[in-house]
């Protein structure tokens, strides 16, 4: 089966003197597959997905998105990307944002009339009349997911999709991912919530300092009798200096 997206020996750094933010990452994603990209803060997860979405240019390596370079707008026609901490033109309303993005996706009037109300209802924003600048972080996150699925993508990238969602929102996102997987959509999930990743992802890659520490199916990465969190902590701690203990002013409570 042809890969929806394949990433080969990807390297990225933001300034010449900086260390590599992404260093030799390679993976491929097939239709109907859910791939979890895990790693501590600053491990390069968001840089990887932004390069796949054509937002950042890699220094080295190649990305094939539906057989083309992500910089080609046509390659992004079947991509849905829900960024971490999403934002939108702040004086627009949720419906207008979706109509704007539907125009960019090239949806005709009939499709817009059909999809926008349904997408708004899914995101729980169908009754929302305020402008985006008055939205909470959770509402923006829901709108971010809504705009990502609006174009009925064949690849959905979710970067920390549930970070600001309430439990109901998280449940809806899990159901969305399961449903999309069944219909053949490939899902790339960046998340700190390992239990969530364990529930929905078929394959995972654990990153630290821009490098892939371990990659494979869930069964390959997580041996029987262990949890993904245990494996993650063990791998990440082995690759990074141990963090300092709690501050002394917290632990030494008896001292003045």
């Amino acid at each position: 089966m042809a890969a929806v997206v394949s990433v080969d020996a990807l390297r990225k750094r933001y300034r010449r003197r900086d260390p590599w933010a992404v260093d030799g990452v390679t993976f491929a994603l097939e239709p109907g597959q859910a791939f979890g990209l895990l790693g501590p803060n600053g491990s390069g997860k968001t840089s990887v997905v932004k390069m796949i979405a054509g937002l950042l240019r890699p220094n080295e390596g190649t990305i094939s998105l539906f057989g083309s370079d992500p910089g080609d707008p046509a390659a992004r026609a079947q991509l849905g990307f829900a960024p971490e901490d999403p934002d939108f033109p702040k004086f627009l309303r949720a419906r207008e944002v979706l109509d704007y993005f539907a125009s960019l996706l090239g949806l005709d009037d009939e499709e817009r009339r059909r999809r926008i109300p349904e997408t708004l209802a899914f995101a729980g924003l169908d009754q929302e009349k305020r402008q985006v600048r008055q939205f909470s972080k959770g509402m923006k996150q829901r709108l971010g997911i809504a705009q990502a699925i609006l174009g009925r993508p064949k690849l959905l990238i979710l970067d920390e999709p549930t970070a600001d969602l309430d439990p109901l929102g998280r449940r809806d996102v899990r159901a969305l991912i399961e449903s999309l997987k069944e219909s053949g959509v490939a899902v790339l999930l960046n998340s700190h919530l390992l239990s969530e990743v364990e529930l929905v992802c078929d394959t995972v890659a654990i990153l630290a300092k821009g490098r892939v520490l371990k990659e494979g199916t869930m069964a390959e990465v997580v041996p029987e009798g262990r949890t993904l969190e245990e494996v993650f902590v063990e791998l990440v701690e082995a690759s990074t200096p141990k963090r300092d203990q709690l501050p002394s002013f917290i632990t030494d409570r008896d001292k003045p």
Binding site: R76, P83, S103, G106
Partner: protein, 299 residues
């Protein structure tokens, strides 16, 4: 094309909801109304303040010429108000139209859609120019209506100056847009403001040089000639000259004072075709710079 139009459409919708543009529009509308109605009321209530006289013993000025002079002052003031308003709008749009999308993170969602950076830039520039034309056009129209208070005859000068104000402001706005894609929008506005002021000084000095008022020092001439082609040339009608000439018609000159020709030589005339071609070139160049800045930008 559809992508550019979608960007333009929603940028215009956003601009229409920005309070700062509304405030600037109110300032422009009130400014023209105050100048128009206020000057008329003042001239009717206190005509003595508008009387002009020549040297002792000279004949009193022709009332028709005085009326003409008043109208010229009126038009000159309106032109300044419209020009100032256009500059405010240029900064308000230039500082926000692209910068806020890039800084807020809205560009992440937009650029991940199948829209090219060229279409995004074209849409933003189109929306910015349309907003500028509409806002300054409305204030120019109000100024035109206010001119009915003073009779007529100089509508052409006002329209030409309004078009020139829009053209000058569009160029300034593109400079701010291009800079604000590279850097903080307030810093961009300050740099554009200083550049615009320096350009004004260079153009004025060049006009004086051409009029022979700065002597014939070869170094000064070479420096000003080179500088002149490094800055935008503010487009203008010959309204300033008309006003100066009318002043001479109304106020007889005394012996020893500068002649009409001497004064005229120091006042910039209507923009030449070369100036207009230079403006078109600079607008194209700035639009290209905006595109290059947007294209290079990683979000």
């Amino acid at each position: 094309m559809n992508g550019a139009l979608a960007v333009a459409r929603y940028t215009l919708l956003e601009l229409s909801r920005r309070r700062i543009l509304l405030v600037f529009f109110i300032i422009g509308v009130v400014g023209v109304a105050v100048v128009g109605i206020g000057l008329k009321i003042f001239s009717v209530v206190s005509p003595v303040n508008f009387s002009v006289s020549g040297p002792p013993g000279s004949a009193p000025p022709d009332p028709a010429k005085v009326d003409r002079f008043l109208e010229l002052i009126f038009v000159s003031t309106l032109i300044n108000v419209v020009g100032f308003f256009a500059l405010l709008v240029a900064f308000a749009i230039g500082m926000t139209a692209i910068y806020h999308d890039l800084e807020s993170g809205a560009a992440v969602g937009i650029f991940s859609k199948p829209v090219s950076r060229l279409a995004f830039t074209a849409g933003k520039v189109l929306a910015a120019i349309v907003a500028m034309v509409v806002l300054v056009g409305l204030v120019g129209l109000e100024a035109r209506l206010a001119m009915f208070l003073f009779g007529g005859g100089l509508e052409g000068a006002l329209w030409v100056e309004t078009v020139a104000a829009v053209a000058n402001a569009v160029l300034l706005m593109l400079i701010v847009l291009a800079l604000s894609t590279w850097m903080n929008n307030i810093v961009a506005a300050v740099i554009a403001f200083i550049y615009n002021a320096v350009a004004g000084v260079v153009v004025a000095l060049h006009a004086q040089l051409a009029g022979g008022q700065l002597g014939d020092n070869a170094i000064v001439k070479a420096v000003l000639d080179v500088s002149y082609w490094l800055v935008p040339h503010e487009l203008m009608s010959d309204a300033a000259r008309q006003i100066a000439k009318a002043q001479f018609d109304v106020i007889p000159t005394s012996e020893g004072s500068p002649t009409v020709d001497q004064v005229m030589a120091g006042i910039p005339g209507a923009s030449s075709l070369t100036d207009i071609i230079w403006w078109v070139f600079l607008v194209g160049l700035m639009a290209l710079l905006v595109y290059v800045a947007v294209r290079r930008r990683q979000v």
